[in-house]
Amino acid sequence: MSLLIQLITGTNIVTNALGGFFLQPVAVLPGWLSITAISAVLGVFLLIIFKYTSNQKAIACTRDDIKANLLAVKLFKDNIVVTFRSQVKVFAGAFRLLFHSIVPMLVMIVPVSLILAQMGLWYQTRPLQPGDAPAVIKLTLNDALQTWPQVTLEPLPNVKVVTGPVRIVSKKEIVWKIEPVEDGYATLVFHVGDQIFTKQLAVGNGFMRLNPKRPGPQFSDILLFPLEKPFGPNAEVQSISIDYPERPSRIYGTDWWILYFFIASMVFALLFKPLLKVRI
């Protein structure tokens, strides 16, 4: 594995531990409350990071300059030269603001991506529930395999396999359909040739920390699905994914949660901006 993948895999061990501890209340709180609380805390925390990683003086000067030029447009409105000169300066100021946010962006992008990945484990999909339509489990084999190995899924007491294994030879995929029977975490055990590969499964109501995919050695997959150790590049299996259902909510539901988090954290940061004396 490359250095980068080793790095992110190692980092995931730490963030999983921290996420498991700090995000544990998500399991018991209403979704809107937990995501609002997380947004508030992170909004303020990241605002503080922004304060200390950005050039606050330069940002203040740029903001003042932009405001002065916007006011110049109003005050000297009958002077077309001043008006357009001020507009150009406003644009230049906007770009300067972007420039001043590069350093904090670079600093924050890593922790925020890791945090978002941890949050995604809770909000992006919901666990399977008994009575749901069958969910698809997809195992992808390594392209480098010359022969098709024997692949089996060990039976589990809380899961019923309704279809499969179905081989999609062109994609080197094997697919099962399962029906959850009982709440709780379970470990799916796959036998591939003489090797054993596992994948976690979450069945239950409400919020559970779940990993829709155990990734292969792809950086983005490892970042987005951090909960389980990725498969190595030479492993027979390159990924195992479970098609969990979408969570239906405009606040904490699939894909919406990130938008809500974006807005809510900004609102909280805005509220705390004067208190923390941060210029953004």
Binding site: L7, D64, A68, I109, V112, S113, L223, I280
Partner: protein
């Protein structure tokens, strides 16, 4: 290593397309969203301008076509140098110390500019604004008397609380803005320009608070108050108990040094939300780090103070009841840390970024300037001469303050010159006035402030400020090089020595015109005067009021049968007043306001205006309505120069980049001249007349300038 890892991770995340949507924190998110908002706003306003400007331009071109066609210049610039003296300027011009003024003189002209009676800044600048005599603009002095109580009050501005309030328990919630009135009457000439479509930028012209609506921009000056509503109240914190707690223009606070830490409060305005308004305070601490520096902690921020160096403007937020906040700005000057601690704080100026009072028109103009150049002094008398008089700050400290104020003004003046292509720019600089007031003693060997032999400095502060003004003129000339620009450099009056103060009230008492109550001597605001026995009194710097029946609350002089005779009688006696100790005449001329003024407000002026001889002026005590026991007071204050003497002795200056034909131009002619330059007929109510300005600078400059 960690840093390297972070960079590696950052770059890898940035270049992962799957994570392109990743949100990277509210700060950066704001920056991105904010930048786009700014861009959208700019695009929106640009479009709006593109759509509306041609229409507005067409309307203006049609509506004001006659004015535009008749305008002799596109731009007129009036640079005011308060108090710049004709004689001193002429002297240093001759000596070659003012090269830029010299160039301007060679290009156009240099003449004495007749000032007003009395030759006091608020009167003179009001005449400049309105082109009329004081009888038409109602400003006769800095101070006037309250007709009911006879107490001294500001002549130019009346500040009252809001007329409607809601009282709930101990709270009094204002239901409107405070009632702030400009008492200067008449119409400023830039209002007339605006009515004819000519844009103006009027900066720091005295007696423009509160600002008035017109087509242009304005920043007010002299008489604009500090945040407490006073004309400038400095604070002085010291560990030395010298028995002082208040002084003129400032307050002393005795503080204790505890393990090199000092805790104190900055005093602000009264709580506007309380029925019984207590002053708001803003606590601060000073931690002395060594003999020459300390750390100031205020409103949660820390600032390093260095001995002898003013801090930048520091924002002070006063928290009033019901969550209301009032903000101001002030500068701190650490004077001494050992053995005694001394700290000077300037008056808390109104914060220009969020002005609590109408210091500019439009209101956002003050904000614009603050955003453009940073915080700046907004107090009318920005240079704290009281602190110097009271010896709280040194000569150098005061000089620094004056120069810093002028630097701020220079920035706003040049910004205005840059932004106005057609119209009027006026800016008044005060450094020349304040420094002549306070440093005249350096040039006056006979000044009573000098004890024993005195050696004047080689380069007195006044010469320095004149040279500074010369540099300003040089820069201004560069920016006004366009042949379509008329540049005038003017001052409102000149200067001379103020060696002795005359207690006019004592003179009136000695001559039987004023009677004091028992124990009435020494009381301020004429509180010791026995009004039923008093026919005349003095307050302010300009002159003498008769205690007229029907005008003053306890008047006894009949306006029809006695007043004229009384005026003549006092005039005759005053003309003969001499200073026996020096055997010198004290008064050059006494003017009857009824004779020299015309207009609806002439009856509100002092009845007699006193034109003092060189070296004399109304005493400090007379100004505040105090009767002492000495007729002549040696002036031992730093405030050693003045212009409150006969107007003929202190003419101002007029430089122009065009030849002006008139022999005796007057300050009141400047406004009408500007109107005339823009092709506008001078209104009949103006007393000033347009000066004859030559058309072509090049033509005029062919003839050598007359020798000085």
């Amino acid at each position: 290593m960690l840093f390297l890892i972070a960079i590696l991770l950052s770059l890898s995340v940035v270049f992962q397309p799957e994570l392109a949507h990743a949100y990277i924190g509210p700060g950066a998110g704001f920056a991105v969203v904010g930048s786009f908002l700014v861009m959208f706003t700019a695009i929106g306003s640009a479009l709006l301008v593109l759509i509306t400007w041609p229409l507005r331009y067409a309307i203006r071109a049609i509506r004001y076509r006659r004015v535009f066609a008749k305008s002799r210049f596109k731009k007129v610039v009036v640079l005011g140098l308060d108090g710049m003296d004709y004689s001193l300027t002429k002297k240093w011009l001759k000596e070659g110390k003012l090269p830029n003024f010299s160039k301007l003189y060679e290009l156009g002209c240099f003449k004495p500019l007749a000032t007003t009676v009395p030759s006091i800044s608020p009167v003179a600048w009001s005449t400049f604004q309105t082109g009329s005599n004081p009888g038409k603009h109602n400003i006769f002095d800095f101070l006037t008397r309250d007709r009911k109580t006879y107490a001294a009050k500001l002549s130019s501005t009346d500040i009252r609380g809001p007329s409607k309030t809601l009282t709930v328990g101990k709270y009094r919630i204002p239901l409107g803005s405070p009632d702030i009135r400009l008492l200067r009457k008449g119409i400023p000439f830039w209002k007339i320009l605006g009515d004819h479509g000519i844009f103006s930028s009027i900066m720091r012209v005295p007696i423009t608070f509160p600002t008035e609506k017109f087509y242009g921009l304005q920043l007010s000056a002299m008489c604009a108050p500090d945040l407490r509503g006073t004309q400038g109240m400095f604070s002085y914190y010291t560990t030395e108990d010298n028995g002082n707690d208040t002084s003129t223009g400032g307050e002393y606070y005795l503080v204790t040094k505890n393990d090199n830490h000092i805790k104190a409060d900055l005093i602000g305005p009264h709580d506007p939300m309380l029925k019984v308004g207590t002053p708001l305070t803003c606590p601060f601490t000073i931690s002395i780090t060594d003999q020459s520096s300390a750390v100031l902690k205020l409103n949660g921020d820390s600032y390093r103070l260095t001995r002898g160096v003013y801090s930048d403007w520091i924002k002070v937020v006063f928290k009033a009841s019901l969550g209301v906040k009032v903000s101001g700005i002030c500068k701190f000057l650490l004077i001494e840390t050992e053995p005694e601690f001394r700290l000077y704080v300037t008056p808390v100026n109104i914060d220009p970024e969020k002005p609590a009072m109408p210091i500019s028109y439009p209101q956002v103009y003050a904000t614009y300037l603050a955003k453009r150049q940073g915080p700046y002094a907004t107090l009318g008398l920005a240079e704290d001469s009281w602190a110097l008089n009271e010896k709280c700050i040194s000569d150098d400290d005061f000089l620094q303050q004056c120069l810093q104020a002028d630097q701020e003004r220079e920035k706003m003046f040049f910004d205005s010159l840059e932004n106005i292509k057609r119209g009027l720019c006026v800016c008044v600089f005060d450094g020349t006035d304040r420094i002549q007031h306070t440093f005249w003693r350096q040039m006056d060997e006979q000044h009573p402030v000098h004890q024993g032999d005195y050696q004047p400095p080689d380069s007195p502060a006044i010469e320095k400020i004149y040279k500074q003004a010369d540099k300003l003129v040089g820069k201004t000339m560069q920016k006004c090089a366009d042949p379509d620009t008329l540049l005038m450099v003017i001052s409102d009056h000149g200067f001379n020595a103020f060696r002795y103060g005359v207690d006019l009230n004592l003179w009136l008492e000695q001559n039987g015109y004023l009677t004091l109550k028992e124990n009435g001597r020494g009381k301020k605001n004429l509180a010791g005067v026995d009004w039923p026995q008093t026919r005349a009194f003095a307050i302010g710097l300009a002159g003498i009021f008769l205690n007229l029946k029907g005008r003053e609350a306890q008047g006894i002089v009949d306006q029809k049968t006695e007043a004229a005779q009384l005026r003549n009688e006092i005039t005759e006696k005053l003309r003969e007043l001499t200073d026996p100790a020096r055997n010198k005449p004290v008064i050059k001329q006494v003017y009857n306001a009824r004779s020299i003024y015309s207009g609806p407000y002439k009856n509100d002026s002092p009845d007699l205006l006193i034109g003092y001889q060189f070296g004399y002026r109304a005493s400090w005590e007379t100004a505040v309505g105090q009767v002492t026991d000495r007729l002549f007071h040696e002036n031992l204050k730093a405030w050693s120069g003045d212009h409150c003497i006969d107007h003929s002795l202190v003419p101002g200056i007029l430089f122009c980049n065009r030849v002006i034909e008139n022999e005796h131009p007057r300050l009141m002619d400047i406004g009408p001249t500007v109107l005339n330059m823009f092709g506008i007929t001078v209104p009949g109510h103006m007393d000033g007349k347009p000066l004859q300005v030559a058309d072509d600078a090049a033509e005029a400059s062919k003839a050598p300038a007359p020798e000085l």
